[in-house]
Amino acid sequence: MSEEPKITVRNFNAYYSGKMALKDVNIDIPENKIMAMIGPSGCGKSTFLRSLNRMNDLIEGFTVTGGMMIDGKNIYDKDVDVTKLRRNVGMVFQKPNPFPKTIFENIAYGLKINKLCKSRDELSGKVEESLKEAGLWEEVKDELNKSAFALSGGQQQRLCIARAMVVRPEIILMDEPTASLDPISTAKIEELIQELKKSYTIVIVTHNMQQAARVADRTAFFMLGEMVEYSDTSVMFTKPEKKITEEYITGRFG
């Protein structure tokens, strides 16, 4: 990798009330690539993901040391405005979590709070654009005023992706985005993720190793709070460097 990575993590440790959850993590995540994190439950991959937009700040007793840099700026510096950070680092959650609002209002929410639109027309335009990018427009264009809860699980998740994209973040974090979806919806989302990497840097946590193999450019294997191995996905799944990685990806434990 010759170009400057988008995200640089150096000697990063995280603790829940003093209990170590991440230990000395060092990772470079390149721009406009998909980075997947795999590993057994409780390995710290979600903690790592949620550190990238400081969502863990909500948890009392969560502390970090070390550096987590986006474009060279440590996001844990005192002068960082967390709301601005989160606007630039979007997040898609494990369970689709649309707001109990209409489809339109779900997408418009981020534009409204960040005051990104000057007129109603501009707002509608951006909502439409975002729904098109998420591949949802054709399915919902006639029912924008219906509740988002009327959509299927897969549609809801694409709605959540559209909602995250509409504010034009630079990075999108995905926490097991297909864990609660059926295979067809999963395939659609994976397709969408591939499409998204043209414009965004994507970090995805997945329980599903095949998914990592299908979508990711780079894959990191976490275990017991440590990053065990990090390499190109093709290398990771064919010639893993470490024995433990091989045991995990061949399904000997998990």
Binding site: E60, L85, R86, R87, F93
Partner: protein, 290 residues
């Protein structure tokens, strides 16, 4: 496999004994409540007619209506609500959404819960010392209403907290994840989705405030007045206090009937208020999407 057999064994007997005991308890509660209601209704219904609601007491409170007491109770409850609702709801929002120290929240919660258990006469005493004397509001609608407000404050806080906590964390995370501030998340996502629960709590506490005597005894309720309140600093009559006055000071036999009639009105009022709360809750549950 042997599955047939004698159902009259010892264990079954113990079980039916337990059921009977529980049913007896339930029956006892229902009967005593029913007797209470019927008793008051029978004794009070005789004096209730349209005039009873719109007329002033006459002939030393031995005839006429109870209009000033009804109005007074409504006004006192209104003052209580205007005080307790903003303060209580915002406190709950702070406790649930803003505070970062779990320890502190726990200490505050213990304090609030203890406050909810304090006898109401103590709130009356506090109102007398603080609102009437220290703040100089005198015995008035304002002092009485504020004392009632303080009384219902813990309930408002607690029910609001419970309502706020019913909003799924995932909504909050989604909002914060888009770059919303805590306050934007509170007023755009959390409050709109918990408002029915908060309202229910408020209305139930209004019902409580309307029926309380002790807090207004020394702070704003008056035995008898021929004038309707014309400012926050007027003394007012109130339904529960009117009952108390009639029962303790009266000599005329008709006053007893009026006291029961007043009790019926008060009960009806509380019943109506609580029914509104129940109605809101049912409607909200039907409208809820999650």
């Amino acid at each position: 496999m042997e599955i047939t057999g004698n159902k009259k064994g010892k264990r079954e007997f113990q079980q039916s004994l337990g059921f009977v005991a529980l049913q007896m308890c339930l029956l006892a509660v229902i009967i005593s409540l029913g007797v209470l209601l019927v008793f008051i209704f029978v004794k009070g219904i005789g004096v209730i007619n349209p005039d009873f609601f719109i007329k002033f007491p006459e002939d030393g409170m031995s005839s006429g209506g109870i209009f000033p007491a009804i109005l007074g109770t409504l006004l006192l409850s209104l003052v209580a609500v205007f005080f307790a609702v903003p303060m209580g709801v915002l406190t709950a929002v702070w406790l649930v959404e803003y505070s970062t120290s779990y320890k502190m929240v726990r200490i505050l919660r213990i304090g609030i819960n203890s406050l909810a258990g304090v006898p109401s006469i103590v709130f009356g005493l506090f109102g007398l010392a603080f609102f009437v004397k220290f703040m100089g509001f005198g015995p008035s609608l304002l002092s009485g209403g504020l004392s009632l407000g303080v009384l219902i404050l813990p309930t408002v806080i607690r029910t609001s907290e419970e309502a706020l906590l019913t909003v799924p964390v995932s909504f909050k995370e989604a909002s914060l994840g888009l770059g919303a501030t805590r306050w934007e998340t509170v007023y755009r996502i959390i409050l709109p989705n918990s408002i029915s629960g908060i309202l229910t709590g408020i209305i139930l506490s209004v019902g409580r405030a309307a029926g309380e005597t002790a807090p207004i005894l020394m702070t704003g309720a008056t035995f008898f007045t021929m004038r309707l309140p014309n400012s926050l600093f007027s003394e007012v009559m109130a339904l529960p206090y009117h009952i108390y006055a009639l029962m303790t000071e009266g000599t005329h036999p008709n006053q007893l009937a009026i006291a029961y009639g007043t009790a019926v009105v008060l009960m009806m009022l509380v019943l109506v208020i609580n029914s509104i709360a129940i109605y809101i809750r049912i409607m909200a549950r039907r409208a809820r999407q999650w």
